[in-house]
Amino acid sequence: MAVKHKDHRYIEALVENDARVLSELYQRFTPKVQRYISKNNGSYDDAQDIIQESLITIYHQAVEKKLLLTCPFDAYFFLICKRKWLNELRKKGHKEVTFLDEITSISKLEMDQVEDTMLYEQKRALIATMFLQLGLKCQEIIKAAFTLKSMEKVAEKLGITYGYARKKKSQCIGQLTKLVRNTAEFDQLKND
């Protein structure tokens, strides 16, 4: 049975955009990431980007998947930033990466939680990439469907009938599903 860790409040702060707790989060947890990235070919801005994107990923996982933090935030957050930075370095073509680490021991619980978030992030990125391969009409209807309050509003905005809007929405999501399923990457991402 997964038990909520007391550091789960940082996850809640992300969801609620609680500046007070987030300021504490920055003070407590980001200097370590900053140091790690500085020592591993990164600039101040690189580190800040990685920190922000990691927090945004955690935010989405919390909103979409009701992420429950069962381990301390410290190592969890550091490892996510670290993985993201190593991915960045690989993208930039750095083959050799120095591994200067401040984390000495990682529990299974922490490792699992990190895996979970990284997997979530990969899926999210894959869906976002494939979305751009959809036709513009489909992109438009999907955007409208998820930002406007009702399908009636979507129909009105796009000047189509309600019935057609609904049909088109499911077809477009279906098309995207097909695109995503056809990638090699999708097979590697196990379903949760």
Partner: protein
């Protein structure tokens, strides 16, 4: 035909299938693995789109908050005010220490917190628009009912997180009710920022340490009070007594 399946998925997700239709859908989910895999993937994609597009404005707001910390770091990084950085660090370290250390108050001849804790009244009325929480916070703070003040100010901050004046008074109220570790984490960013409350926040951080008996921390903060601060003389006086 193939496309019809997505309309069916959608209808199921919206809870629109009933009776026989629903039964046969669920039976198919159980028995047909390809149908199930397709449905699971569809759901996954649908949820992901809903999360990223449906929360786009919330994400923007969160990014704005996160950016505000980033710029703060940048200012201290770029400027010559190296001491500010070490000061923030000290505040963090101290707040952690305060959380775990046993509270020991030495009743010696050291100056007392109450001697120096003379607060400017909170005057939200000058801002024009008055909501009931602002009024209540003002009333509570000015009549020294700090527990209520903390409650009302946290409501106000939930509505307007960037309001530095409220942050400051929230910090002061927290010191008054002995939540000093929390107070220090609130006052820290104000004193490393650029608002008019910068030095006041620094002064109150020192008072927080004074109240909790962390005299060395208190001195450290006071020593960093610059000449141009309105609180400079008070800080020097308190330093002498310490």
């Amino acid at each position: 035909m193939k496309e019809e399946i997505y309309s069916l998925f959608e209808a199921y997700l919206q809870g629109e299938l009933q009776g026989e239709e629903l039964e046969s859908f669920e039976k198919k989910l159980e028995k047909d693995t390809e149908f199930k895999a397709n449905f699971m993937a569809y759901t996954e994609v649908e949820q992901s789109l809903k999360s990223s597009m449906g929360h786009a404005s919330e994400e923007q707001a969160l990014r704005a908050t996160l950016n505000s910390f980033r710029n703060k770091e940048n200012e201290t990084e770029k400027g010559s005010v190296f001491k500010l950085k070490s000061y923030v660090w000290m505040a963090v370290a101290a707040s952690v220490l305060l959380l775990f250390s046993v509270y020991i108050y030495k009743a010696t001849d050291t100056p007392s917190y109450t001697e120096y804790a003379l607060h400017q009244p909170l005057e939200t009325g000058t801002r024009g628009t008055l909501d009931s929480n602002a009024k209540a916070a003002e009333k509570a703070f000015n009549s020294k009912d700090y527990t209520t003040a903390v409650k009302e100010l946290s409501v106000l901050l939930a509505k307007d997180r960037g309001n530095v004046e409220w942050q400051l008074y929230y910090g002061i109220s927290l010191i008054e009710i002995d939540k000093i570790a929390t107070a220090v984490t609130i006052l820290g960013p104000i004193s490393s920022g650029n608002s008019v409350y910068k030095y006041t926040a620094q002064w109150y951080t020192a008072l927080g340490y004074l109240k909790s008996g962390k005299l060395e921390w208190c001195k450290g903060v006071l020593e960093e009070m610059p000449l141009e601060a309105a609180e400079f003389e008070k800080a020097q006086e308190l330093l002498r007594k310490l």
